[in-house]
């Protein structure tokens, strides 16, 4: 399923996973890549169920295309740097750093999509618990990568 914005993909993923439908966020096949996009992969047998759920939520995709070759997989590796008083996690091209004692987000770096400066302005200076989640206010793959770094920091800091 192809949507106009990455943020719609993320909302759709949340909705469908909430209904325990077997979906995965993946990279689009080469013939429909535009530059900053995600798609939702699902088994064809679930199409009717999924369409019904999305229709009820008013979230129908732009298009649905069949795929035969494996799709690109989002990055799932993290690099962790321990600065002593600070901890930094990198996911793909995005890095988030927190102060160990207060769990305040002190910096966000990396990335190249236009929501990165916006996400930084909304999150830096807030604690991991109080900051808005990148998946809720981001719109791009860099925003999604930052969500992964944020989740890894929450996991490591027991938030």
């Amino acid at each position: 399923m192809v949507f106009e914005h990455t943020s719609e993909v993320i909302r759709c993923e949340t909705l469908l996973k909430g209904r325990e439908l077997p979906v995965r966020v993946m990279g689009p096949p080469p013939e429909i890549q535009t530059g900053c996009d995600l798609v939702i992969e699902f088994p064809l047998i679930e199409e009717l169920n999924i369409r019904r759920v999305l229709e009820q939520a008013g979230m129908l995709p732009l298009t649905i295309v069949p795929v035969t070759a494996p799709l690109l997989t989002p990055v799932d590796l993290f690099a962790v740097t321990d600065f002593g008083d600070y901890l930094m996690v990198r996911a793909a091209n995005m890095k988030m750093t927190v102060a160990r004692d207060t769990l305040e987000i002190v910096n966000i770096s990396g990335g190249g999509c236009p929501d990165v400066p916006y996400l930084a302005s909304e999150m830096v200076g807030k604690t991991l618990a109080a900051a808005p989640r990148p998946r809720d206010i981001g719109h791009t793959l860099c925003g999604y990568a930052l969500q992964l770094a944020y989740e890894e920091l929450c996991r490591r800091c027991s938030v």
Binding site: P74, Y86, T97, C113, V116
Partner: protein, 288 residues
């Protein structure tokens, strides 16, 4: 004149363009006053600080508000497609724009039609689009960090988010990744690879490395890559030869750390204030 193109994270800002100024620590452009703490305004602030020291070049900026939906980016792309031929710029730097291959191709086509083709520098989202378009070699500079270099070296990845793990794992093999990026035509004529050591590359040859002074905390500071690209753009606009500009920019960016004594919590605006001092030393000490 130097042209700098990008976005600001404020959707109230429409497409604006004109000569840029730095006034009381804020960017002044088309009667707007914009903070310089991250993104393209940080790049512009670094370039403007450097231009103060170098006594030029003039800087012309094209910006629009965009929080990631791409609306502002598309207005910038449309402006460039129609107007770039009218800009009298010797250097043109592309920065935080939503990667969009179709728009990238329209912009590059318009640039190629300019009476005098400027030196082209691509960073951030526009660099991603340039690589994905298969036209990386049309550019004079890419300025990737280690993660983005792995993306350039991965012929399959349309965005750093999809860089395959076995390539990401090689981040300590910088030279191998550089060669791989060139083998697949996914690199510009020059690269400045930002990292623990900065690699300056010309046509698949590492021509210089810059490793000192070293402040590991700077990796955590959002915007240090933007300031490096701003310095590079300004030095190229001031007439420095590309490799000399890259070495001086990488050195000056590190020296900002020396003067600002950074921690991982330092904000980039504090580093920008140190640019005149840092650039003075980098230019003074550069190899003959």
């Amino acid at each position: 004149m130097l042209g700098i193109v990008g976005t600001v994270p404020d959707i109230r800002v429409p497409l604006i363009h004109g000569p840029a100024r730095l006034v009381d620590g804020h960017l002044r452009l088309a009667d707007r006053r914009l903070p310089v703490n991250r993104g393209t305004p940080a790049l512009l602030a670094a370039a403007l600080k450097a231009a103060e020291y170098l006594d030029g070049p003039e800087i012309y900026a094209v910006l629009a508000g965009d929080r990631g939906t791409g609306q502002g980016s598309r207005s910038v792309y449309a402006f460039l497609t129609e107007q770039v031929r009218e800009l009298d710029v010797q250097v043109l730097t592309f920065h935080y724009l939503l990667p969009d291959v179709d728009w990238h191709n329209k912009v590059l086509f318009a640039v190629e039609a300019m009476a005098r083709r400027p030196l082209l520098i691509a960073d951030a989202g526009f660099m991603y689009a340039a690589k994905m378009s298969g036209q990386a070699s049309a550019y004079d500079f890419f300025t990737p960090d280690a993660g983005e270099l792995a993306f350039l070296a991965d012929a399959m990845a349309p965005h750093p988010f999809y860089t395959r793990g076995f390539i990401l794992h090689q981040h300590n093999k910088v030279e191998e990744l550089i060669h791989q990026a060139y083998r697949d035509d996914n690199a510009a004529a020059h690269l400045v690879v930002k990292g623990e050591t900065d690699y300056i590359v010309r046509n698949d040859q590492v021509v210089a490395t810059v490793g000192s002074p070293s402040f590991p905390a700077m990796e955590a500071i959002g915007g240090t890559g933007d300031t490096l690209t701003g310095l590079l753009s300004c030095l190229c606009g001031a007439g420095f030869e590309p490799t000399a500009a890259a070495v001086a920019a990488a050195t000056a960016n590190r020296l900002c750390g020396l003067f600002a004594n950074p921690t991982p919590a330092t904000q980039v605006a504090e580093l920008i204030d140190a640019i005149p001092q840092a650039l003075a030393r980098a230019v003074r000490d550069r190899p003959a």
